[in-house]
């Protein structure tokens, strides 16, 4: 089972080898409402931990998506251009945003595991 971690900004990252797949959490998509547009990063872009990597627009708001780790973008989800609703229907699966080759796997330890994230959003009320 691949390891999955969560950020306080409601991104998730699933590690496979030294590459992580990043998306926004089911909680985040439920807060945003219907997603109408996603701007994904360019492949090859180097991103610092916590830097803006993508933009997600819903009928309610436009929000920045931050990279939970530092690294280089190796893929972006092209399917979101035609079907941004995947973020709503499958936030943790087909609605992924980008894949990133981690500069430092140790950064994952600074993120929450699923139980910790569940407790975190429960605390947000």
């Amino acid at each position: 089972m691949a390891e999955i971690r969560f950020s306080k900004e409601h991104e998730w990252i699933r590690l496979e080898g030294d590459t992580g797949t990043v998306g926004i959490t089911d909680y985040a998509q439920s807060q945003l409402g219907d997603v109408v547009f996603v701007e994904v990063p360019e492949v090859g872009r180097k991103i610092a931990k916590g830097a803006q990597a993508a933009v997600v627009e819903s009928v309610k708001a436009a929000s920045e998506v931050y990279s939970p780790v530092a690294g280089e973008v190796t893929a972006a989800n092209a399917a979101l251009a035609d079907n941004p609703g995947l973020v709503n229907s499958a936030a943790m699966g087909e609605g992924w945003f980008f894949k990133i080759k981690l500069a430092d796997k140790g950064e994952l330890d600074e993120l929450m595991d699923e139980a910790a994230y569940k407790a975190y959003i429960a605390g947000l009320g």
Binding site: F37, E39, E57, A61, A62, E64
Partner: protein, 447 residues
């Protein structure tokens, strides 16, 4: 008549409520160096009749373009505005609701803006147009910033045929927004080729068609060269009527079209308010500045209008918005929209044809004056002349003969002595043959 509604007592109680000793106290945060210490030298108050008399005397010093044979152009053109346009834009339904603060309840205003956008997209040959910008020059600066966002580059190339006022506005934005614009030398002869200057750092090339000297060019090859290098082509049109006849920027492959819409429906207005036109390709719509009206259906399936893609805008995206423009030139856009609707497609083409025919006639008459030559091998309704002496004093002398002869190039490029003898002359549907004969005769007399 009282101009200021607050009494001295009102002011004192307001100041007391916020704990300020005087009105001047409110300006304490303004640096001393920026404050005007002396009072502005204005006469004391006068009665209404006296004010009217003073202002009327001042106004009489003006030489309105409509009062003489006017051949002024260079970015602002005198055209006939039908009385119906002024009548319709002043109807309360339009005039007092010119901007949609609460878009859903201003369906009429939104429908008008939708029609305006459709017209701008049609005449420019582009996919999508916004609800207008402040004017052509700020639209051009916004276009450069948009190209910078799309290409993630910061160097633009400005044609020597671009109106210098547009260049200056772009440079002003660049100075404070961290991008650079390399301006080519003024291209009076219409011979520049910018393709060779494009490199891997170029975000965009900005050309004007017709150029400020009036040259008409097809920029298709330049568009291809720019796009091959990953840059965009921005085509500026300062005389919107030319789009009735010339190949539209969209057909040349332009990525962004910007224009000054004053020529359609709007008087010269002493230089403003004007209306900026802005259009682009579908694929770039999310990087476009400004308001955008869209057509939709309501819950009952009826056609309606909304402001759409607002997430690009400042009230939602804050500092990450595509632009700090939060409004549009609503009333001028309305005048544009009504006038173009009244003209229709055939009328618009016919208007452009008349403009060109008048300019051809004028070029023939002026070119026949000894010592004068027409620079252009192509033009729409405006062209450049070379004179045997500096143009500026000559233009002053011609005012005395009832002719506003055009814009001396020296007025636009005061630092370029080699352009001192160039005069930029425009003819529109408003110029009669008698006007043109007067101009040619007067010119021969003063030379």
């Amino acid at each position: 008549m009282r101009y200021l509604p607050h009494t001295e007592h009102d002011r004192r109680s307001m100041l007391a409520a916020i704990g300020a000793a005087s009105v001047d106290d409110l300006y304490r945060d303004v640096p001393v160096a920026a404050r005007l210490e002396d009072h502005v030298d204005l006469p004391a108050h006068q009665g209404e009749l006296a004010v009217e008399r003073t202002i009327a005397a001042l106004a009489a010093k003006n030489r309105p373009a409509g009062s003489m044979a006017s051949f002024l152009g260079a970015g602002a053109y005198r055209h006939h505005v039908p009385a119906s346009v002024d009548h319709l834009i002043q109807r309360g339904e339009f005039l007092t609701s010119y901007t949609p603060y609460q878009p859903e309840v201003t369906q009429g205003t939104l429908q008008m803006l939708f029609e305006f956008q459709t017209q701008v997209a049609l005449i420019s040959g582009m996919d999508v147009a916004n609800a207008s910008m402040y004017d052509g020059a700020t639209a051009a600066a916004e276009a450069v910033m948009m190209a910078n966002r799309i290409t993630k580059r910061t160097k633009s190339i400005l044609s020597g045929g671009l109106h210098p006022h547009y260049r200056e506005v772009i440079e002003t934005y660049g100075r404070w927004s961290g991008f650079s614009a390399k301006a080519a030398m003024p291209d009076a002869a219409g011979v520049e080729d910018l393709a060779g200057q494009i490199d891997a750092d170029t975000s965009c090339v900005v050309v004007q068609n017709p150029s400020v000297f009036g040259h008409v060019r097809d920029h298709a090859a330049l568009a291809a060269a720019a796009q091959k290098a990953g840059a965009l082509l921005i085509v500026v049109v300062t005389e919107a009527v030319s789009l009735g006849l010339l190949k539209p920027p969209g057909e040349m492959g332009a990525d962004i079209f910007v224009g000054e819409g004053q020529s359609i429906g709007n008087a010269l207005n002493f230089g403003g308010p004007y209306v900026g036109l802005f259009a682009t390709r579908d694929k770039y719509v999310r990087q476009m500045p400004g308001r955008l009206t869209g057509e939709t259906v309501d819950a009952d399936g009826r056609r309606g209008w909304v402001l759409t893609l607002s997430t690009r805008e400042q009230h939602i995206r804050r500092e990450k918005a595509t632009s700090n423009i939060c409004t549009n030139s609503g009333l001028c856009a309305l005048a544009f929209c009504i006038h173009l609707s009244l003209l229709g497609e055939d009328g618009f083409t016919r208007l452009a044809e008349i403009n060109h025919a008048h300019a051809v006639q004028l070029a023939e008459k002026l070119g026949g004056v000894k010592g004068i030559s027409v620079v252009n091998d192509s033009f729409f309704n405006e062209f450049a002349l070379t004179l045997p002496e500096p143009a500026s004093p000559l233009v002053e002398r011609l005012v005395g003969k009832g002719v506003l002869a055009g814009v001396p190039a020296a007025r636009l490029w005061p630092d370029k002595p080699d352009l001192a003898n160039h005069l930029i002359v425009a003819a529109t549907e408003t110029n009669t043959e008698a006007d043109m004969d007067l101009f040619a005769r007067a010119l021969a007399e003063v030379l």
